[in-house]
Amino acid sequence: MSTTLLDKILAPDAISTVFQPIYKIGPAGLKPVIVECLSRGPALTNAAHPGVFFEYVQLKAAEPQVDRACAAAALAAIARLRSPEIFSLNVFAATLVRDSDFVRWVGAEMKRLNLNPAMLIFELVEHGEAWDTQAFLGALRDLRALGSTIALDDVGLAHSNFQRILDCDPEFLKLDRCIVRNCDRDDRRQALLRSLALLANDLGAHLIAEGVETPTELSTLRSHAITLFQGYLFSRPVPATQILDILGTNVPRKPSSSTSEPEPTQSKAKSVGGSV
């Protein structure tokens, strides 16, 4: 029997974790306020490429097993950092539907590692299959009962739709890069940004713009009252050794002059972990 890529992914210590900060622009300037944990498949396999990794996992319908392996690696990495930051980690929505024990398991892992669930955000990555709403909503309730919060990932892309926003009632909406990319040069994207910023504010959610790559994109996003940003403009995903340096130094890159705009309107967003 040959070894499949899934066998290699699920082998002990095969999955590694890298970190990408999410920055907030406020009166105190630019500051990392959340650190996203990103899982990487085994080196020297096709799953070393993140896109191939997660596409393969979905095609194999192996989200629950792989999510557990990714979460275990990420939580262990967070524990080793001993940092007071808020961390986020990605979970396939399908995992919450199919693995009825996932939330209990992740709660036990956090307890074992002495991690405060209130400092953890679960980013839900969508999946387009038939949906068991009751199981999904039950899992969300259980995650919140632990003290953790919910982000809806990839908003604007494929299945991260309005129904899911209503289902999740997320504390965070992460705008997909398909909306962010070139938003400074595209009136239609700006119309979407305007609407989504209003929606997030009315729902009491924080809006995070993913994939910010240029100062002019940042400036445009700020003009739509968005204050949380992630992307190569600020930092690429980095290993544990570098994320501590970034968190320690706070501001790896000074914002461009185009960021000196008025502060956005007062947000009604829910408080999370006390510091976002």
Binding site: S2, T3, T4, L5, N46, E55, L59
Partner: protein, 123 residues
């Protein structure tokens, strides 16, 4: 030149990879159709050698790979490499995007000759 080799025979896959790597190809391997489909959705290949009989979830066999190649990478030249060579299989493989059908077993030099024929300018 980028070549994708797809076969669930791990030994054969390794030999093919060594052969093409040794001739200067940028060779990638996939042992399952899901792995191959994920690869072609995120990478571009000049040519792919696709075994039709793959152990995979129903509906995601070699024909699933042909479909993914046609959707995500229509410029890729596809050599279907299979032990099943009835008229209906060959016709279906070519209809689903195969550029050429080669019956297993074939020598590595035969495969190389077809690759060179399909991609003469890029080789």
């Amino acid at each position: 030149m980028r070549i994708l080799l797809i076969d669930d025979d791990e030994t054969l896959l390794g030999i093919m990879a060594e052969f093409f790597l040794g001739r200067g190809f940028d060779a990638r391997c996939a042992g399952e159709s899901e792995e191959a489909i994920a690869l072609v959705r995120h990478h571009r290949f000049d040519v792919a050698i696709v075994d039709l009989e793959l152990n995979s979830i129903e509906g995601l066999d070699g024909f699933g790979v042909l479909k993914a190649l046609r959707q995500s990478s229509p410029q890729t030249r596809v050599i279907v490499y299979s032990g099943h060579c009835s008229d209906s299989i060959v016709e279906a493989a070519l209809r689903h995007g195969g550029t050429r059908f080669i019956v297993k077993p074939a020598s590595l030099l035969e495969l190389l000759a077809v690759v060179e024929e399909l991609c003469p300018l890029r080789y």
